[in-house]
């Protein structure tokens, strides 16, 4: 459970960061890159498989700092533990034991997408944080609210346990009961406690963007790498800690490796790659040959490093670089096919919700249907993968509806309770031909102005961006030269 929680901690963080930096709500999404989406799809599926395999085998294998040979030997051991499992199924399952490695790949591409989604724009931290927090929290709340209804029904019909009311309250009102270790959330989904860490990443993102501009890419990367390596060395040598995906004994447990600092340089590296990508340079534009020549050795180094205690310091820095380069080559190749490209772009958008749901699906399926039956496990594995996708789609569908309903209720309450309801007042006087920003977006021109009575005189403007024209309230407009 410890490993599982730690694993999904990372996955949540990175997927959320990926989500918040690129996707958000679909209506507000930045242009997306097909091969990035492809990596995300591959990553979330691998993490689900990893999660499921751990649960099914009772954590039969996790990397340990006992050397390469011992770990390779132990990789074969699960067959002995589960004799009903076929050799072929076991061999096919070996990559799933390392599904956790995509966590750091997500960290890397999160940084990349953060920079790519803000090309050349000065970052408005307040606006950035507001939008990102909303994008992270609403899908979580939707998942939580829907999950508890479903869990209540399942518990009723199967007479199984359900989280108690306090735990339900903690999850449905998060982050009201903010707790770094996420204890109240873990009873519902072992991965949910990482929401607090996701919020930490969100808060850090504008600061890192500012440093990228202020210090430059090379200096920021150098500083963050020194900081991360120093912190990881402290975690291993001084804190007596171990990585999130390892079962081991240590004084500080796995929490030091779940910290933002343990992943910082990977995130910054992604930002730097994104920074160069915007200038049409860097690893994201490397040829397949060059990417593989660099990627495979780096991955191998990181892979071996994870089996040694001293290697823990650098393993999580090397693995994502190598793995991301290899995956980039594969996904770029696949994205050359138009249909596959569209497929990646479509499914990639559900990855955050996929993560929110996958823990619930795997846990309940294992508990209620599969038990320890290998045949059922093999049959239901693809069902879990597809079923989680369907549920993620539902979550993404319902999220904006819930957001509007709850937002409307809160606006009503605010309006009723506020001491003096304040109707929006005109701050300027739009004229025909004025260049304006519509909801922050530049490039609009006022075509017509209508004055209506709505308790006070208010203006309605028909605006056009050269392609579309629409009627909007004056409150949604601001002069083109100003930012509120």
């Amino acid at each position: 459970m410890l490993v599982l929680g730690a694993l999904t901690l990372d996955s949540w963080v990175v997927v959320s960061m990926e989500w918040i930096s690129v996707n958000g709500l679909r209506s507000e999404r930045s242009p997306r890159i097909a091969w990035i989406e492809g990596i995300r799809i591959l990553g979330v599926v691998m993490l689900l498989l990893y999660h499921a395999q751990l649960r099914f085998t009772g954590y039969a294998y996790t990397p340990k700092p006992t050397g390469l040979a011992d770990n390779l030997q132990r990789l074969i051991l699960p067959v002995g533990i589960l004799p009903d499992r076929s050799e072929l199924a076991h061999l096919l399952g070996i990559p799933a034991w390392f599904g956790f490695q995509f966590i750091d790949v997500f960290v890397l591409i999160s940084g990349f997408c953060l920079v790519v989604s803000l090309p050349g724009q000065p970052l408005d931290s307040g606006r950035f944080l507001r939008r990102r927090l909303v994008r992270v929290l609403w899908p979580f709340w939707t998942t939580a609210w829907m999950a508890y209804l479903a869990l209540w029904a399942i518990a009723s019909i199967t007479h199984t346990a359900i989280p108690n009311l306090w735990q339900i309250f903690a999850a449905t009102t998060f982050p009201l009961l903010f707790s770094y270790n996420g204890e109240p959330l873990m009873s519902t989904s072992s991965s949910w406690w990482v929401m607090s860490l996701i919020l930490s990443f969100v808060l850090l993102a504008p600061f890192l963007c500012m440093l990228l501009q202020r210090w430059g890419a090379a200096n920021l990367l150098l500083a963050s790498t020194v900081l991360t390596l120093g912190y990881r060395a402290l975690a291993v040598r001084m804190f007596d800690s171990y990585p999130t995906y390892v079962i081991w004994e240590g004084a500080s447990g796995w929490q030091p490796f779940a910290s933002v600092l343990a992943k910082l340089s990977t995130f910054v590296l992604g930002m730097v790659v994104g920074h160069f990508y915007l200038r049409h340079r860097g690893p994201a534009l490397w040829t397949a040959q060059k990417a593989l020549i660099v990627g495979i050795p780096v991955y191998c180094l990181g892979f071996v490093a994870q089996f040694y205690r001293i290697g823990w310091i650098v393993a999580d820095l090397l693995v994502p670089i190598g793995l991301a380069l290899i995956c980039m080559v594969i996904c770029r190749f696949l994205a050359e096919n138009y249909q596959l490209e569209a497929f990646m772009l479509k499914l990639g958008s559900y990855s955050y919700s996929y993560f929110l749901v996958q823990g619930l699906v795997v846990d309940r399926t294992m508990q209620l249907v599969i038990g320890g039956n290998p045949v059922r496990y093999d049959l239901l594995l693809p069902v879990m993968v597809a079923g989680t996708l369907v549920l993620a789609m539902i979550v993404d569908y319902v999220t904006p509806l819930l957001r509007r309903i709850v937002g409307g209720i809160l606006r009503d309450i605010d309006y009723v309770l506020v001491a003096t309801p304040d109707l929006p007042r005109s701050l300027w006087d739009p004229k025909i031909g004025d260049a304006v920003r519509y909801r922050g977006e530049a490039g609009w021109t006022v075509l017509k102005v209508e004055k209506l009575l709505d308790e006070r005189d208010c203006l309605l403007c028909q605006v056009s961006d050269g392609h579309r024209s629409l009627w909007v309230n004056e409150d949604d407009l601001e002069p083109a030269g100003e930012r509120s």
Partner: protein, 538 residues
């Protein structure tokens, strides 16, 4: 008479080319030689046809969410030993509240309220009889007389010509031939838009030359009824402005009756809309009775009970000075209800008079009906979300009005969702017990009884006060179908809500009579468009 006599809307001046291009392409001038060819092509070919089945996926999805999933959920709870009686009673309470409101409104509507004072008989006994009959609402209709001379009046007819070119001439002829002229004169403005030049425009120009009261106003760049009306308001000269749709045929004395209320201090008078093509099919027959119930019973009672009502988008008579301030919002799905709320919130008063009659065409096929009701549902939800909170805080609403308008806005929205929950409750019962067991809970029995009774009672009252002597069969079948008709409207309403909450504000022109529904853009969308010039009835 030339179109330019009234001035066309050429307000787009000194703009960048790109901005002008956003408007210009919407007007496609076709060569003269092509006009005849174009006129022979069906409207469907030119502006597209939509069927209700395009919403089938949303219908299924929304009902799976609102009925299917709750059925499974309730079933699981029943298996787990939970009693859902309390939930059942909560839902029943909503049914009871709505039924009580219907009964109160229907009973109130039995009592007449005329736009003209009662003539007093000389005989005392006759006077007593008149008083008793008046209090019981049994007095008969009578011609209207006004104390002061009627000022100059303006009728604004809004039209989207590709959709309404077949009926507009008839409507204009009817108005010009029927409506009583005030001493200061009558002005009739046809404010229309069209994405292409149409042969009907030549006919309209000829007509305008023969009737000086008729003024044609082609509103360039317009994509909505609201834009057409706003443009027409800029040139209207009457002190009273009547707004009509392209299919509306008002009664001769409409201004005389409306003037009575305007003289009493009201700012808007809403008349009664009656279905003209009621004999077309079962759907129009039901809509005819429904309109009688709405305009003859519900709105009338609302006006009497709360001294406020809605402006339904047509057959409304406005003090021109008020309407020129209120104007219409093109960004709204239902600009009429939006105008109603802004009017009331700004302290103006609206009254309903069911003796002011206009006839109109009901949608005669299911697709038209579907899109019309969906737009109403979307618009009603939009208005509810925007104005409910302001009603609660407004100093222009009395406490009773606030309660009533909460009933009309939020309650009606919530009710359509809550009422649906009766189905999953019963279905889960069926799944669990294998049958729907009879309850001995008197509260549930009472709610069932009063729900069915209110529908039948409303139909009976509607039959009594109907402005048109429809065949009794209409009312009998309406009473028989009212349950299913209500469910159908509820289903459409749910899809409309779903669209609204999903941010899908695209809507469809309501075709007239037997026409099919057409693809039309949202007033706030980017597509080249026309408008849907139909009224909004809750």
């Amino acid at each position: 008479m030339d179109i330019d006599r009234c001035g066309s809307m050429k307000t787009i001046l000194n703009l960048p080319e790109s901005a002008l291009e956003a408007v210009k392409p919407k007007i496609r001038h076709i060569p003269r030689s092509k006009i005849n060819e174009a006129s022979h092509r069906s409207v469907e070919e030119r502006i597209g046809v939509r069927k209700w089945s395009v919403d089938l996926d949303k219908l299924i999805y929304s009902h799976v969410v609102l009925i299917g999933l709750p059925t499974i959920f309730y079933y699981c709870l029943r298996v787990g030993g939970f009693s859902l009686t309390n939930l059942h009673m909560v839902i029943a309470t909503f049914f009871i509240l709505s039924s009580v409101m219907i009964i109160v409104e229907a009973t109130n509507a039995l009592f007449r309220r005329y736009a003209v004072p009662n003539p007093k008989p000389a005989n005392r006994l006759d006077r007593l009889k008149q008083t008793i009959k008046a209090n019981l609402g049994l007095t008969s209709d009578r011609p209207c007389t006004v104390a002061n001379p009627l000022p100059r009046c303006t009728i604004l007819v809004a039209a989207y010509l590709p959709n309404e070119q077949d009926i507009i001439v008839e409507t204009l002829h009817h108005i010009l031939a029927t409506v009583n002229r005030p001493a200061d004169g009558l002005e009739l403005i046809l404010a229309y838009n069209t994405p292409i030049d149409l042969p009907i425009e030549d006919e309209l120009r000829n007509m305008a030359q023969h009737f000086p009261e008729l003024c044609l106003l082609r509103v360039e760049g317009s994509r909505s009824k609201a834009e057409n009306l706003n443009a027409a308001l800029d040139i209207a000269t009457g002190e009273i402005v009547c707004i009509l749709d392209a299919d509306h045929h008002p009664a001769a004395d409409c201004f005389d009756r409306a003037w009575y209320w305007l003289e009493q201090g009201y700012d808007v008078v809403q008349g009664r809309n009656v279905i003209r093509n009621h004999q077309a099919n079962l759907l129009t027959q039901n809509i005819a009775v429904e309109f009688e119930a709405n305009y003859g019973v519900s709105h009338q009672a609302k006006s009497f009970l709360t001294d406020s009502t809605i402006f339904g988008g047509s057959n409304g008579y406005w003090r021109a000075s008020v309407l020129k301030r209120i104007r219409f919002n093109p960004a709204r799905m239902t600009e009429d209800i939006d105008a109603t709320m802004r009017t009331l919130l700004s302290g103006y008063r609206i009254v309903h008079d069911r003796s002011i009659i206009t006839t109109e065409l009901a949608p005669a096929n299911f697709s038209s009906f579907w899109f019309q009701r969906k737009r109403w549902a979307q618009g009603w939800l939009e208005v509810s979300c925007r104005y409910q909170r302001r009603v609660w805080r407004s100093c222009h609403f009395t406490p009773w009005q606030k309660i009533y308008w909460t009933y009309l806005l939020y309650y009606c929205v919530v009710y359509s969702l809550i009422a649906l929950q009766m189905f999953p409750l019963l279905l889960s019962m069926l799944l669990y017990y294998g049958e729907i067991p009879q309850t001995d809970n008197p509260y549930l029995w009472f709610s069932t009884f009063i729900t069915f009774f209110s529908g039948i009672y409303l139909t009976a009252v509607t039959m009594k006060i109907a402005s048109v002597p429809y065949p009794r069969l209409y009312f009998v079948q309406h009473a028989a179908f009212i349950f299913f008709f209500t469910i159908l409207k509820n289903m459409i309403s749910v899809v409309g809500m779903y669209d609204y909450l999903s941010g899908d504000h695209q809507w469809v022109v309501t075709p007239r009579g037997q026409q099919k529904p057409r693809n039309v853009t949202s007033p706030t969308s980017a597509l080249p468009a026309g408008i849907g010039l139909s009224t909004t009835k809750p």
